[in-house]
Symmetry: C2
Subunit: 482 residues, 2 copies
C-alpha cells in the first residue's frame, strides 16, 4: 500500500469545517461525539480489503481530532496502513491527538523532512508537545532544519524544566500600556507590524503592563468591545491579574487557575517581565492528566494509553505492577509461615488472620487516597503534616475502634473464644492506627523526594499493613493461646 | 460575638482587586497560592482570643476565593465564629468557594432575607449551584422573594435534569445573523437595549445564527477585533460549531469540550434554537469532579470534602465503606473456615492461599480501573463490550500466565511439593481470568443501571476474587492432596 490513497482527499478532513450538532443517543441517552463503533468497524473492513476508495469516503467530513480518535480505536495492525494513506497530505493535528505512545510509533513512519514540515505547520505549543516525545538526537536533527527565528524559540522553551509553566505557555501574548485608550489597542491588534511577535490565535485577555513590561492589570477582550474607543485602558482594566513565574510547576499553575477560575494568565521571567501566557484549554489537560495519573498509579496501572495499547504491551505493563504485588504477597506469606505450629493447633487463626490484613489494607488505602489528592490539589499544606496525622489518627480511633470492636465480638462468638475475639480486636485497632499513621506520612515523604506520591505509596503501605496485620495477630495468639 | 466585626472592612475583600504575582516557595520550589498555614494559624489564634481587630486585619487583601479556602482550612469550631464576622457584609462569592457540605452549614446560619440577597447578587450559574444544595422547601421560599423575571429563569433551569447541560449553561449568550458586518455586531454589543437578555460577563465566541435561531457558525471575539468594521460576519465566521442539546449529560459535554479543545459552545433546545452557552471554566470543574469521584470511590472514600470535614464526620463516612470490606472479608473467612481440616493437615495451605486472593484482587482492580476511566472519558464504546472483554482476557492470559507460572515454581520449591505448585498455578490463572472477565463486565453493567461504575465495581469484584481464589485453591488442594 502506501501511496495509493493520495489524490482527491485534500482538505476533506480540514479541522475548521462543519457545524456539529451533538445529538442524543436514543438508547443510552448519552451525547455522541468522536468515532462510533460502526465507523471504526467499517474502516477496519475497508483496510482489510485494501479498499482505499472506501477508506477515503469514510474520512470525508471527519475533523482531525476524530481521525486521531479513529486511529486510537483501530486494532493495532490497522493503524499503520491507515496512517500510510493519510501521510501524503497529512493534517499535523492528527498527530497531536493520538496517545503519546502512538505518537512515537507514527512519527517513526515519517522521514525527517515530513516531520520537519509537521513541526513547522503546528502552533508552537503543539509542536513542542511532539518534540518532547522524541529522543534528543532527533530533536537536534529536526531543529537544524528549521529557520533560525523559529528554532531559537523552541530552543529557549526546551530549556525550561519539564512540566514547567515555561513549557506550557505560548509566547504570543498581547500587552498594552495603561495610558492607551481602547482605540489604540484595537489599532495595535489590527495593524501590528509584521516584525513583531505574532498575535495568539485565540486570546481572552489583553494584559496591561508598566514601562518595565511588568503586569499591572488585564482587560477581558469582551470589555474592549463594550467600551467607546476613547475609554482609557486604566479605567476599564481589572487589577486582579495572576502572574506565574516561568519555572513554576505546571500543576501548581493549573490548581491556581481552578482556584481563581482564571481563563488566561501571563507568565513572567525572573525579572518580572511578561514573556508569554497560559490559557485555560492547556490547563484542562494538565488537571485531567494529574487526576488520571493518580487514579491509574494508585490502582497499579501504567500512566497512559493502557486502554489503546495492543495486548502484549498492556500485558507487559500490567505484569510489572503485578510483580510488586507478588513480592508483597510472598513477604506476607513468609510471615504467616513462621506461625505454622500455632495455625496447626488452632485452625481458626487461618481464617481470622485474613480479616486483619484486609481491614488494615483498606483503611490504609482510604487514607492514602485522601492524602494523595489533597497533595495534588494543594489542599494539604506542607507545614500541616502533623495536623493531618493527628486528624487521621483520630478518625482511625473512631472508625477503626468501631470496626475492631464489632469484628472482635463477631469472631469471639464465631469461634467461641473470648480470648481470640480480644486478640483480633486489639491487633486490628493497632493495624488500623498504623495504616493511618503510615498512610498519611508515606505520600508526604515520597513527594518530598520529588516522586509521584500515588505511584509509591499504595504498594509500600499495603505490604506493611499485611505484614503488620498477620504478625501482630498471629504473634499475640501464639503468645496467649499456645 | 456576632455583630462586632461589622464596621470598616467593607470592600476590603473585594474579589476584583490586586495583582497577584505567584512567587516560588524557596524550600519546596512550588508556587504558593490560596491560604498559607501561617495565615490559618494566625486566624485561629485571633478567633480563639476574640481579637476581632486582628481578624479584620488578616482579612484585608484576601480575595473571596482565598477567604473560602481559609474557611475550608480552619478547624471546625472556628468556622462559625469567622462566618459570623463576615456575615454582615458578605461577599456572596465566599459561599460559592467552600466545600458543598460547608455551604449547607453556612447557609443555615443566615436568615432567609440574607440568603435571598446572596442569590440575587450572584451570577445565575453560581446562584443555581447554591440553590441546588438546599432542600426543596427552602428553594421554594427563596424563589418566592425574588422578582418574577429572575425567578422564572431559575425555575426553568431547575426543571432540567440534574447534571445536564441545561443546568450547567448560562442563559446569557451573544447571537448574531450571518449577514451582519463587524460594525453591526460591535454596536449590538455596546448599545443593546436594556430590555434584552443581558450580555454574559465574559464571552469568547459570538455565535452566528440563521433566521430560526439555529447555530450555523461562530466568530471568536478576538477575530472581531482584528477585522475592519465593514467585514461581513459570514466571511470571517468559523463553521466548526459544536452545539449540545440542553438535556445532554454534563459529563458528555465536558468530554467533547476536551476532545475538540472548545472554549465555549451553544446549548440548543429540542427544536434546535440556541438558548444558552457553556464555557470552559465550568467544564474544568465537571472534568475534575468526575475524575475525583472515580479516584475516591474506587478507593472507598466519600465523594467530596472528606479532607476538610471534622473527625467524627470523616470517621462516619469512612466506617460506612469499611463495613463493606468487613462483610467482604467475613465472607472470605467463612469460605476458608470450610477447609479447616485440610489446613490442619497441610499448614502450607494457610500461607499459600493468601497469594491467590491478593493476586486476583490486584489484577481485578487494574482491569476495573482501566474500564472505569475508559467509560468516563467515553473511550469505551458501549458496542465494544465484548471486544474489551476479549482484550482483557488476552492480557490476563499473558500477564496472569506468567505470574502464575512464576508463583507456582516458587511455591513448589518452597514447600517442596510439585502438586501444590501446580495447584497454585492453576487456581491462580483461573482467578486472574475471572478477575479480567468480571472486572471488564461489572463496571459496564453497573453503568447501564445508571450507577457510577467506580462506586460499585471495586468492592463487589474484590469479594468475588477473594471467595473464588480461596475456594478454588483450597478446594483443589483438598481434592488432590487429602
Amino acid at each position: 500500500m502506501g501511496k495509493t490513497g493520495k489524490q482527491g482527499h485534500k482538505k476533506r478532513y480540514n479541522s475548521e469545517q462543519g457545524t456539529t450538532i451533538h445529538s442524543l443517543n436514543e438508547s443510552s441517552g448519552g451525547v455522541s461525539f468522536g468515532v462510533s463503533a460502526g465507523l471504526r468497524d467499517a474502516m477496519e473492513d475497508a483496510l482489510l480489503n485494501q479498499n482505499f476508495e472506501g477508506v477515503k469516503k469514510l474520512l470525508i467530513d471527519l475533523r482531525a481530532q476524530d481521525i486521531s480518535d479513529l486511529i486510537n480505536h483501530l486494532k493495532h495492525r490497522f493503524r499503520e496502513p491507515l496512517f500510510h494513506l493519510l501521510k501524503e497530505d497529512l493534517d499535523p493535528q492528527i498527530l497531536v491527538g493520538v496517545t503519546p505512545s502512538l505518537q512515537i510509533e507514527l512519527l517513526n513512519l515519517l522521514d525527517i523532512e515530513q516531520v520537519v514540515s509537521v513541526i513547522k505547520k503546528l502552533p508552537s505549543d503543539d509542536a513542542l508537545g511532539l518534540l518532547e516525545t522524541m529522543d534528543e538526537e532527533w530533536v537536534h536533527r529536526i531543529l537544524k532544519r528549521i529557520p533560525v527565528s523559529e528554532r531559537s524559540t523552541f530552543e529557549q522553551v526546551l530549556q525550561y524544566p519539564d512540566k514547567s509553566a515555561g513549557r506550557l505557555m505560548q509566547r504570543e501574548v498581547v500587552c498594552v500600556p495603561e495610558h492607551w485608550c481602547v482605540a489604540q489597542v484595537l489599532t495595535f491588534i489590527r495593524d501590528r507590524p509584521k516584525s513583531m511577535v505574532q498575535l495568539p490565535r485565540f486570546f481572552y485577555d489583553v494584559f496591561v503592563v508598566n514601562p518595565r513590561h511588568h503586569p499591572v492589570g488585564r482587560v477581558p477582550v469582551n470589555q474592549l468591545l463594550r467600551h467607546d474607543s476613547e475609554t482609557l485602558i486604566q479605567d476599564i482594566m481589572m487589577e486582579n491579574v495572576n502572574a506565574f513565574p516561568d519555572v513554576a510547576d505546571q500543576e501548581d499553575v493549573a490548581q491556581a487557575f481552578k482556584h481563581y477560575a482564571l481563563v488566561s494568565a501571563p507568565i513572567i521571567s525572573s525579572s518580572g517581565r511578561i514573556i508569554g501566557m497560559v490559557t485555560v484549554d492547556d490547563i484542562v489537560h494538565v488537571l485531567e492528566e494529574e487526576a488520571e495519573e493518580d487514579i491509574l498509579y494508585m490502582n497499579k496501572v501504567k500512566g497512559d494509553s493502557d486502554f489503546y495499547a495492543p495486548i502484549p504491551t498492556t500485558a507487559y505493563w500490567r505484569t510489572r505492577w503485578l510483580l510488586i504485588t507478588l513480592v508483597n504477597t510472598l513477604i506476607a506469606s513468609y510471615v504467616i509461615s513462621q506461625f505454622q505450629a500455632s495455625i496447626q493447633q488452632i485452625t481458626a487463626l487461618s481464617f481470622l488472620m485474613t480479616i486483619n490484613a484486609a481491614m488494615g489494607g483498606n483503611a490504609g488505602m482510604q487514607v492514602v487516597t485522601v492524602v494523595v489528592r489533597a497533595l495534588a490539589t494543594r489542599s494539604l499544606l506542607e507545614e500541616d503534616t502533623w495536623r493531618a496525622v493527628r486528624k487521621e489518627l483520630g478518625v482511625s480511633l473512631l472508625a477503626g475502634g468501631f470496626c475492631s470492636l464489632l469484628l472482635g465480638v463477631i469472631a469471639g462468638f464465631w469461634v467461641n473464644s473470648v480470648t481470640l475475639g480480644i486478640i483480633l480486636s486489639v491487633s486490628l485497632i493497632c493495624n488500623m492506627l498504623w495504616a493511618s499513621f503510615a498512610g498519611t506520612l508515606l505520600p508526604i515523604i515520597v513527594s518530598r523526594f520529588n516522586l509521584d506520591p500515588a505511584i509509591s505509596a499504595g504498594p509500600i503501605l499495603t505490604t506493611t499493613t499485611d505484614v503488620f496485620g498477620y504478625a501482630l495477630f498471629l504473634g499475640l495468639a501464639t503468645l496467649f493461646l499456645m
